[in-house]
C-alpha cells in the first residue's frame, strides 16, 4: 500500500515533510539524510532530483542543485542509492524535481523504478496537469505513484477543484507567489488564501510549502492545513559545519518545538 495513504489514514495534522537535494552536501549522504529524518520524527521526505535549471527555486536550492550535480549526482545513481531504502524507513518518500531529467530517463522507466523501490509519489512542478492527464496519468497510476500538484494564491477556484479531482496523495499549497525560500514570514493575505482552501472541502489533504522555515511558520501553516513542507531552511541547516546527523536532529527539534517532539 502507498505509504502516503497509510500516513494520512492515521495522521491529519502537524505533518512535517522535509525536502533535500540528493547529492548535497555530499554525494553519498542520501540514505543517511532520509534515515535520520525518519528517526527524528519527520512524517515524509521529498527527495530532490537535481537539475541544471531549477526555475521555480530560490538561491539556496539552486546552489544545492549545482553542488549536487558537481558532486556527480544523477537519476541512475540516486536509484542505486535507494535500492534498500524500504528496509530502513517506512515513511512516505516522494521524488521531486524538474521534468527534463525524468523525460530523458524515460517516464515509463522512471515510474516503474519508483514503484520497484517502494517510492510513493512524484512532484514535477513544470509538468502541468493538462499534459499529465493526456500523456502520463496512465503510467503513474499503473505504478501506484501519486502525482502531487502545486496550487498558488493565484490559482482559480475552478482550477483548484480540477487539480483536487485528479490528485491523489496531497495538494501542495505554495504559500505565496514566489520561488522557494523567498519569504521568511507568513502575512495576512497568505492566511486568507490558506483559509479559502481550508473552506473548500477538498478531498485531498493539504500541505503548505515555500517560506516555511522555523517553528513559528510551521505552526501557523499547520493551523490551516494538514501540515507543512520545509526545503530551503533544511538545506541551510545541512550546509552548517559539524556533524550531518546532529544538524538534522537539531533542525527537526527546532521545527517541532519541544512540545511537538515525537516520543
Amino acid at each position: 500500500m502507498n505509504h502516503l495513504n497509510i500516513l494520512f489514514a492515521k495522521k491529519q495534522s502537524e505533518i512535517l515533510s522535509v525536502y533535500f537535494t540528493a547529492g548535497y552536501p555530499g554525494l553519498e549522504d542520501t540514505v543517511e539524510i532520509i534515515t535520520v529524518l525518519a528517526e527524528s520524527g519527520v512524517d515524509m521526505v521529498e527527495i530532490g532530483m537535481p537539475f541544471s535549471d531549477p526555475m521555480a527555486d530560490g538561491p539556496v536550492i539552486q546552489q544545492s542543485n549545482d553542488k549536487a550535480l558537481k558532486n556527480g549526482m544523477n537519476l541512475r545513481l540516486l536509484f542505486r542509492q535507494l535500492e534498500d531504502i524500504r528496509s530502513q524507513v517506512s515513511i512516505p518518500l516522494i521524488m521531486m524535481g524538474y521534468l527534463n531529467p525524468v523525460i530523458q530517463y524515460g517516464i515509463g522507466d522512471f515510474c516503474k523504478k519508483c514503484n520497484e523501490l517502494g517510492l510513493d509519489g512524484v512532484i514535477l512542478p513544470d509538468l502541468p496537469f493538462e499534459i499529465y492527464i493526456e500523456k502520463y496519468r496512465a503510467v503513474f497510476e499503473k505504478n501506484e505513484l501519486h502525482k502531487i500538484f502545486l496550487v498558488s494564491p493565484q490559482t482559480s477556484e475552478d482550477r483548484i477543484r480540477k487539480i483536487d479531482a485528479i490528485s491523489n496523495g496531497f495538494i501542495y499549497m505554495v504559500s505565496s507567489s514566489s520561488t522557494t525560500g523567498a519569504r521568511e514570514k507568513i502575512v495576512k493575505e497568505q492566511e486568507d488564501y490558506f483559509l479559502r482552501l481550508q473552506q473548500m472541502n477538498l478531498k485531498n489533504p493539504r500541505l503548505i510549502g515555500f517560506g516555511i522555515s522555523n517553528h513559528e511558520t510551521f505552526q501557523r501553516a499547520c493551523k490551516y492545513a494538514n501540515g507543512a513542507i520545509i526545503g530551503s531552511a533544511f538545506i541551510r541547516a545541512l550546509s552548517e559545519k559539524g556533524n550531518l546527523e546532529e544538524n538534522i536532529r537539531r533542525f527537526v527539534k527546532m521545527i517541532r518545538g519541544t512540545s511537538g517532539m515525537q516520543p
Binding site: 523525460i103 530523458q104 502541468p128
Partner: protein, 395 residues
C-alpha cells in the same frame, strides 16, 4: 503539412506549456488575450505607426551587386540592421510593450545575452515610461559593457545573474523567477520564439513583418513575391521565424537556417542545437535542446553571444523535423570571414549573428537566375571589439 501552432501551443510534437503553477495565471492571461489584441485595429495602427516612424520600417531590401557577382546569383539583403537599436529585436519589443499596456502591466522584465534584446526592451520602456528590469548573466555583463551602459542610460535596471554559468540561459531562469515572484503587475518580454505558449507564436507574429515587407519589395524588384532561397541565422530563432513566416506554405521557397557551430561541431564548443541536441524541456517548452545524457542542460558556445542558447524555438524544431527548413551551421571563423567580406564588398558591417547567415552563401551552389534573400538581422557595432581582435587574421 501544418506549420502553425495548435490550440494547445504545439508545433507538431514541439512547444507546449511546461511551467510551474505559479506562472500559470500570467501565461493564461497572455494566451487568452494575445490573438484578440493582435487583431485589434487600434493595436495594429499603433504598432504599425511605431514600426514606421520610430523603428524606421520598412527596412530596405538591398540588391547586393558585388556579393551577387561573387556568388554568381542574385543576392538581396533584408536590412534589419538599419532599424532603431540596430537589430530586428525592436519589432518584438514594440509589439510586446503595447500588449503589456493593454493588459495593464506596469513593470517589464526581460532577459538578455549579448544585450541587443535588453537594449530593445529598455528602449520601448523608456518610450512608454514603464519600469524596466533586465536580467543579464554576469559573464555577459563583462563581455558586453557598451550595451549594459546603453540600457542604464535608457533608464533600465540591469541585474547581473550569478547562477549557473552566468550567461543567457541563466538570465532567462532569473527572469522567470522574477515573474513567479511578481505575478500581477509584471509582463515578461521574452526576446525570441522560445518559452511557453503563446510566446513562440506571439514573437513569430510580431517578427513576421520582415517577410511581409519582403513580399512586396521582391515583387517590386524582381516581378515576383517569392524568392528561391531565404537564409537566416538561428539562436532562439526569432529573426528566422520572421523572415520565413509568410513563405512557409510556399514550397517553391527553399529555406536555410544557420546555427553557430563555434569552434567546430565536434569541438565541444558549439551551439548547433539541431546537430548536437535532442528533444527536451527548458524554459517552459519542449524543443530541441543541448543536454548531457542525464538531461542536464549544457552550456553552448559561439563567438556570437546572440546565438549561444542551448535550446531553439519549437517552431524551428518542427521545421527541422519536417524538413521544411534545411539546417546548416557556420563556425566562428566562417562567420568572421563572411563579416569582413561584407564589410569590404558592400560597406556594411554585420552583426556576428547575421554573419553566420552570410557564411552559408559559400557552401551552397546557386543558379545564376536564383533570387536569394539573406536576412541581415543586425549591425556589427556591438561586435567591434571582437572584429578588431581578429582584423589581422581576416584582412
Amino acid at each position: 503539412m501544418k506549420y502553425d501552432v495548435n490550440k494547445k501551443g504545439f508545433y507538431g510534437e514541439f512547444g507546449g506549456v511546461f511551467i510551474p503553477e505559479m506562472m500559470y495565471p500570467n501565461i493564461r492571461e497572455l494566451q487568452d488575450n494575445y490573438l484578440e489584441i493582435l487583431a485589434d485595429p487600434g493595436f495594429q495602427e499603433e504598432f504599425r505607426n511605431l514600426l514606421k516612424d520610430y523603428a524606421g520600417r520598412p527596412t530596405p531590401l538591398y540588391h547586393s551587386a558585388r556579393l551577387s557577382e561573387l556568388h554568381h546569383t542574385n543576392i538581396y539583403l533584408k536590412r534589419e540592421d538599419l532599424t532603431h537599436t540596430g537589430a530586428h529585436k525592436i519589432n518584438n519589443t514594440i509589439g510586446q510593450i503595447l500588449i503589456a499596456g493593454r493588459l495593464g502591466k506596469t513593470r517589464i522584465i526581460a532577459e538578455t545575452g549579448a544585450g541587443q534584446h535588453g537594449v530593445a526592451t529598455a528602449t520601448v520602456c523608456a518610450l512608454k515610461g514603464i519600469k524596466c528590469i533586465v536580467y543579464m548573466g554576469q559573464l555577459d555583463v563583462e563581455r558586453q559593457q557598451p550595451n549594459v551602459l546603453r540600457m542604464k542610460m535608457l533608464g533600465a535596471e540591469v541585474i547581473p545573474v550569478y547562477s549557473g554559468n552566468m550567461t543567457l540561459k541563466d538570465a532567462t531562469n532569473e527572469a522567470i523567477r522574477d515573474w513567479i515572484n511578481n505575478p500581477v503587475d509584471t509582463h515578461y518580454i521574452i526576446g525570441s520564439v522560445v518559452g511557453p505558449h503563446p510566446y513562440p507564436d506571439l514573437v513569430a507574429k510580431l517578427q513576421s513583418v520582415i517577410s511581409e515587407e519582403m513580399k512586396w519589395q521582391l515583387k517590386e524588384k524582381t516581378g515576383r513575391e517569392a524568392p528561391d532561397y531565404i537564409i537566416a541565422c538561428v539562436g532562439g530563432g526569432s529573426n528566422a521565424a520572421g523572415a520565413y513566416y509568410h513563405y512557409l506554405y510556399d514550397n517553391h521557397v527553399k529555406m536555410i537556417a544557420v546555427e553557430a557551430s563555434g569552434k567546430g561541431i565536434d569541438s565541444g564548443e558549439s551551439a548547433a542545437t539541431m546537430v548536437l541536441g535532442r528533444p527536451g524541456v527548458l524554459h517552459g517548452c519542449f524543443s530541441m535542446l543541448m543536454q548531457d545524457e542525464d538531461g542536464q542542460v549544457t552550456e553552448p558556445y559561439s563567438i556570437s553571444a546572440g546565438l549561444d542558447y542551448p535550446g531553439v524555438g519549437p517552431i524551428h524544431s518542427h521545421l527541422f523535423k519536417t524538413g521544411r527548413v534545411k539546417f546548416d551551421h557556420a563556425t566562428d571563423d566562417e562567420a568572421l570571414k563572411a563579416a569582413f567580406q561584407l564589410a569590404r564588398l558592400e560597406g556594411i558591417i554585420p552583426a556576428l549573428e547575421s554573419a553566420h547567415a552570410l557564411a552559408a552563401l559559400e557552401k551552397k551552389k546557386f543558379r545564376p537566375d536564383d533570387v536569394v534573400v539573406v536576412n541581415l538581422s543586425g549591425r556589427g557595432d556591438k561586435d567591434l571589439a571582437t572584429y578588431i581582435k581578429y582584423m589581422d587574421s581576416f584582412l
